[in-house]
């Protein structure tokens, strides 16, 4: 078992003929992911990857022809909101948006729309999902993680790779790794994923990687204290970040008194979470 994706996931790639879309489709297929279709408006009827994957003009057509049940979005920021609306409208139940730089007001409209449709969105501005040994949806390098019983959820990209790699070096594997993204308004938050890990039989422990900005980690701490029976280990990035400055991620900003690393660490520790001083300390805290 795993959460969100596995070897039976039927994946659709929006923006499959672009540079990034094509490169990562190749990587996802090489990893064993079942990529069934691609979408690029105006290129319907073409094939990619030596004729293995059909390209459609719209998500609706792709779903009708292939039964795709998950979509990953690799289109530029100015087109990404439309891509998310389109996937939700076509009935795709799980949408993963890798694109960075989507305007916040667009994301508010997208989020309110997909909530009405009952669709799950991961991201945007995220590395995607990896269920080691089964499937990857997004850009997480497959070779840095092995299958196991640790559920990983994170707001960051490369910092997540760092943690997966540190686990692998000591022989620990992941059930599923979920990158929820670094934007202030996204589709899925920590609590959503913690709940899935709590109910997933394969997942025995959880790593939560947070950062400055917003109050998602504080809410996760409340949830953990009230509902989690599985141990949670955490790391929070940005302890040296100055207030009022955006640290790369659109969502990583300390506003007024809210969102500092110290507050988040205090909240998590009060909920019984062990918080690592640096990412390489995480494996020892999981033991």
């Amino acid at each position: 078992m795993s959460i969100l994706i596995n070897k039976d996931t039927r994946l659709l790639v929006q923006g499959i003929t672009g540079n990034e879309g094509l490169f990562h489709t190749t990587q996802m297929v090489a990893y064993g992911t079942n990529v069934v279709a691609g979408v690029t408006p105006g290129k319907g009827g073409e094939w990619v990857l030596d004729g293995k994957i059909p390209v459609f003009d719209s998500v609706k057509l792709a779903v009708e022809a292939t039964g795709a049940n998950c979509s990953v979005i690799f289109v530029p920021a100015r087109f990404a909101p439309d891509a998310m609306f389109e996937a939700a409208d076509a009935g795709i139940p799980l949408i993963v948006c890798i694109t960075e730089g989507v305007p916040v007001q667009d994301m508010m409209r997208v989020r309110n729309y997909i909530d009405q449709k009952g669709v799950r969105l991961i991201g945007p501005n995220c590395p995607g999902l990896l269920t080691p040994g089964e499937a990857k949806v997004g850009i997480i390098p497959g070779n840095i993680a092995i299958p196991g019983n640790v559920g990983v959820v994170s707001r960051s990209g490369t910092l997540t790779y760092e943690v997966l790699y540190a686990l692998k070096l000591v022989g620990m594997g992941a059930s599923t790794c979920v990158g929820i993204g670094g934007d202030p308004i996204n589709g899925t938050n920590f609590i959503d994923v913690l709940e899935m890990f709590e109910h997933d039989p394969q997942t025995e422990k959880v790593v939560l990687i947070g950062e400055i900005g917003g109050t998602d980690e504080d809410k996760a701490a409340e949830y953990i204290a009230a509902h989690m029976t599985k141990p949670v280990v955490s790391f929070i990035a940005g302890q040296t970040a100055p207030p009022g400055k955006r640290m790369g991620h659109a969502g990583a900003i300390i506003e007024g008194s809210a969102g500092s690393a110290a507050d988040k660490i205090r909240a998590l520790e009060a909920a019984g979470v062990k918080v690592a001083k640096h990412p390489e300390e995480i494996p020892s805290l999981l033991k």
Binding site: R78, Q105, G157, T158, L159, G182, E211, G238, H249, P279
Partner: protein, 377 residues
């Protein structure tokens, strides 16, 4: 991106929000001329992108044009919280009966825009929120529906606005919503919105923050960005598509990914050092971008050592190594450099850097420890 008061109010006016008559001036003479045109008492307001201008003495009332010239001259030589005052706004002075706070901003937790109002306007709203939260009214706006008239009326009623002003207030609310929406604002704020002694509503002050990610569809706004509020190196970095923030320490950091960049800074601090900057080269950075990043780091005279932490994914370690070599030929750095490459093409990258006289590290902690030691000399 922050807009100045005069820029924000010009946008508000376009959306039918009443603002005082006035113009912006860069010299005392210009201020005098504007004051003469307006006649009567005027307010001279420093245009800098920080709060607390009034407390710092950057807002003054002049009784006539001569005094306006004198006060503008003084304010134009001021530096407020490190920012030089280059322009002043000269507005006609209003006869204020009452001050209201009114804004629309993004509510991150609710994932919706929120309209905020308070009868206790004119002061720092954070302070009102902390001391007397019951004086603040909030109404969320459905981003798919937009602001509805009844919501504006609800706000007007809940801040005890006189009924004869509800219609004007609804128009101002509708204008503020459009200004917020059309310009991809993160905040559109009127503080204070005043009721004048002749019972009219006027936006005396204005503030807008624009979503940087949306500037691609607002080239007119991108053009009026005031770069005074950022360090010159930050402006330079943005030109190269790098995310850079200058800090006060002496260990330069170059990392791929924002979370990992913050983490690298944190670890430097954990092992007793101080980071000189935050720098994320982004995903898939090529040699040219890396070279630009390195020039920016090494231009800081405080930097005593540089830490490179690259976890290759989309980013290829050999590309990064090539960028480092290019930049080294140009700038001939004299400070020690610690490099850690993991992931995509790390082997090739390490080989390229073999003869570059750099300190290598295996883990993140190892790299930070070595950089801290190197900076101490």
């Amino acid at each position: 991106m922050k807009l100045h008061e005069y820029q924000s109010k010009a946008i508000f006016a376009k959306y039918g929000i009443p603002i005082p008559k006035g113009r912006v001036a860069a010299t005392a003479d210009e201020a005098k001329q504007i004051a003469e045109e307006l006649g009567g008492r005027v307010v001279i307001k420093a245009q800098v992108l920080v709060g607390g201008r009034g407390k710092a003495g950057g807002v003054k009332v002049a009784k006539d044009a001569d005094e306006a010239a004198e006060l503008a001259g003084q304010i134009l030589t001021m530096t407020i919280k490190g920012l030089p005052v280059r322009k002043v706004l000269v507005d006609e002075a209003a006869a204020i009966a009452h001050e209201i706070y009114f804004s629309i901003t993004n509510d991150r937790a609710a994932k919706k825009p929120v309209m905020i109002a308070s009868a206790a306007g004119g002061v720092d709203i954070e302070e009102v929120a902390a001391k007397t939260p019951e004086k603040i009214v909030k109404i969320h706006i459905d981003p798919l529906l937009g602001l509805r008239d009844y919501q504006a009326r609800d706000i007007a009623a809940s801040i005890d606005l006189p009924r004869e002003l509800w219609r004007d207030f609804s128009r101002i609310a509708a204008g503020l919503w459009q200004a917020y929406k059309d310009n991809d604002a993160e905040l559109a704020e009127i503080n204070p919105l005043v009721i004048t002694k002749d019972n009219k509503l006027v936006a005396l002050d204005g503030k807008m923050l624009i979503d940087d990610n949306a500037l691609f569809r607002h080239p007119d706004l991108a053009e009026i960005r005031d770069v005074d509020e950022e360090a010159p190196a930050e402006t330079e970095a943005r030109r190269h598509g790098l995310s850079f923030i200058k800090l006060d320490g002496n260990i330069g950091c170059m990392v791929n990914g924002a979370g990992l960049a913050m983490t690298s800074m944190d670890i430097v601090k954990l092992f007793g050092g101080e980071p000189a900057n935050f720098l994320d080269i982004g995903g898939g950075a090529g040699a040219e971008k890396v070279a630009a990043a390195m020039r920016i780091i090494l231009a800081d005279p405080n930097v005593k050592a540089v830490l490179f932490n690259i976890f290759g994914g989309i980013t290829r370690c050999d590309e990064v190594a090539r960028g480092i070599l290019t930049a080294m030929e140009e700038v001939k750095p004299k400070v020690p450099m610690v490099v850690r490459l993991v992931g995509t093409n790390a082997e090739e990258g390490r080989k390229l850097l073999e003869n570059a006289n750099m300190i290598t590290a295996e883990t993140l902690a190892d790299a930070a420890r070595k950089a801290v030691a190197a900076a101490k000399g």
